[in-house]
């Protein structure tokens, strides 16, 4: 059963003014329980607008969205939706405001209304989940004294601590060094494995998503261009229209296919592409 069901959703910014902009146009898709959905698209394609519908921050201008079986237009339900859908914004380290790491992580938990012992357990668990161990070393640290990558992990941990059913991440690796980047991806993988959470992740860079995603969505100028299982999306001929988004090895395989070679374009990693080309060369 889908945990998120979107039907003909459109969203218009500044409706009725000179600055009116249609950010999303007639989007229909669904997210199944426990799946990893990757959303890819260029700047301004509507990715961030779409995910803000998932926890009721934005309401559709037309169409509908059901999250965990309920319409987000239901005000009562929407006001509690943040507990089930954890949304990590782009550059989440900019939202940090508490004086210590502990308080920052406990903020959402206190808003949920959990007791002190439970908060302590969850804070430590979340720090461990994002790889900030030993936890005791970080609990009383001032977040602003930490590096950008660590602050990003703390911001993500503050959402993970709330144990959402659906975790939505908006470009979680943007602007990080390779180490920070690897840590964030590890965290997402670990979280998925340990908590059986549904993950929706937005990225400019499809490489992050190819390995992790079960299904892939490609948005272009507010329209849903491609949506399907990752391998099928990569194998489809439409990929050629979005040259800049896809990695070089995928483009190479598509070019080979275009020139008449019998090649499988539905590969995820560079290694699989190498194997495919090897197979092709041996065949000749």
């Amino acid at each position: 059963m889908p945990v998120i069901e979107i039907n003909n959703l459109s969203y218009v910014y500044n409706a009725g003014t000179l600055n009116e902009k249609r950010a999303l146009d007639n989007i229909t898709l669904s997210v199944e329980k426990g799946e990893f959905l990757g959303i890819v698209g260029a700047n301004g394609s509507g990715k961030s607008t779409l995910i803000q519908h998932f926890n009721g921050l934005l309401l559709p201008s037309s169409g509908s969205i059901f999250v965990l079986g309920h319409d987000t237009r239901d005000k009562q339900y929407r006001s509690q939706l943040w507990k089930s859908v954890g949304l990590v914004f782009q550059f989440p380290e900019q939202q940090i405001f508490e004086a210590t790491v502990y308080d920052e992580l406990a903020y959402g938990l206190r808003n949920i209304g959990l007791g002190q012992p439970e908060i302590e357990v969850r804070v430590k668990e979340a720090l461990e989940n994002v790889g900030l161990i030993p936890e005791e070393q970080f609990l009383n640290t001032e977040p602003l004294c930490l590096s950008g990558g660590m602050r990003r992990r703390i911001a993500i941990a503050s959402i993970l601590a709330m144990k959402p059913d659906i975790l939505v991440l908006d470009e979680p690796t943007a602007g990080l060094d390779p180490e920070g980047y690897a840590h964030i991806l590890d965290t997402i993988k670990r979280c998925r494995k340990n908590q059986d959470v549904t993950v929706v992740m937005v990225s400019h860079y499809i490489n992050d998503l190819l390995i992790l995603s079960d299904r892939l969505v490609l948005l272009d100028d507010g329209c849903l261009q491609i949506w399907g299982p990752t391998r099928e999306v990569l194998a489809s001929a439409d990929v050629k229209d979005y040259d800049l988004l896809f990695p070089d090895y995928i483009k190479l395989l598509h070019n080979l296919k275009k020139q008449g070679f019998q090649v499988n374009t539905g590969v995820l990693t560079l290694e699989e592409a190498v194997d495919e080309i090897d197979r092709l060369l041996e065949g000749e």
């Binding site: 500044n14 003014t17 000179l18 921050l57 943040w82 954890g86 900019q94 903020y107 808003n111």
Partner: protein, 262 residues
């Protein structure tokens, strides 16, 4: 941004949009001074006609100007009612213990028109003049103060930067608010202290990022040899043309004739 902010610049090519910012600033100043100094009926009526003429020429929809002023209508109405009830004079009619005098209605209407002209003057100015042009206009008008050793150029740069970053800050505040809402920040709590703490959850990150941005901007400006002097150039220089002369003349003539008749 969900809605257009009140008085924010609306790009256009109308006659009023094309006027030099100095013309608009000076004309606005003249009109405001005249209606504040002289509240005779000819002055108010002529200036009201003038301001609605400017609104028509600016091709901004009157709806968007007047619609954004919902809460100001309360002030307009409150001042009108206060004048009607509190001014002593020849009684016109009474509502229980409240006596409405003819003088009261006249003064109430006059105050309403003054407030309306003040509001429209400033709104049309900011809606038809881009922040950069406005800052350029202010700099040019205050230029003579350089001889009194007032750092006009620095003030102009200060205003330009402040105006430039207002939309950025609004956007950032909205994003941080959404991020805190996603962690259950109780913005609508009935308890004042809780609401205060929640506001801090937005203010603190906003101040931190503003300071960071200010530092970055200062470094970027210094690395491009900005020293605060008058030696920076603009991509578009101000140009005081024929229409500006006509516009200023019309404003001055209307204001003076209104004062003479009054």
């Amino acid at each position: 941004m969900k809605k257009m902010k009140l008085g924010s610049y609306t790009p256009g090519t109308s006659l009023i949009h094309q006027l030099d910012p100095r013309t608009k600033l000076l004309s606005g100043l003249v009109v405001i001074i005249v209606i504040l100094v002289d509240n005779s009926w000819p002055v108010l009526v002529l200036n009201t006609v003038l301001i609605f003429l400017v609104l028509y020429l600016s091709k901004i929809s009157p709806k968007s100007v007047l619609h954004g002023v919902k809460w100001l209508w309360i002030i307009f109405a409150a001042s009108f009612i206060a004048h009607c009830v509190c001014t002593q004079g020849e009684p016109w009619f009474s509502l229980g213990p409240l006596v409405v005098s003819k003088e009261g209605i006249s003064r109430g209407l006059a105050t309403f028109l003054r407030l309306l002209i003040l509001y429209l003057c400033s709104t049309i100015l900011t809606m038809t003049t881009s922040p950069m042009k406005l800052a350029g206009g202010l700099e040019a008008l205050f230029a003579p103060l350089i001889y009194l050793r007032v750092p006009v150029n620095q003030f102009a740069m200060l205003i330009t930067i402040a105006l430039r970053f207002i939309p950025t800050l609004i956007e950032e505040a909205e994003t941080i608010t959404k991020a805190q809402k996603s962690r259950g920040a109780p913005f609508a709590s009935p308890k004042k202290m809780v609401r205060l703490k929640t506001t801090l959850a937005v203010l603190i990150p906003l101040v931190v990022s503003s300071l960071q941005r200010a530092t970055d901007l200062a470094v970027a400006m210094e690395s491009r040899c900005y020293t605060g002097g008058p030696h920076h150039s603009r991509t578009k220089n101000l140009c005081f043309g024929r229409y500006d002369l006509v516009a200023l003349a019309v404003t001055v003539v209307i204001c003076i004739s209104g004062t003479i008749v009054g």
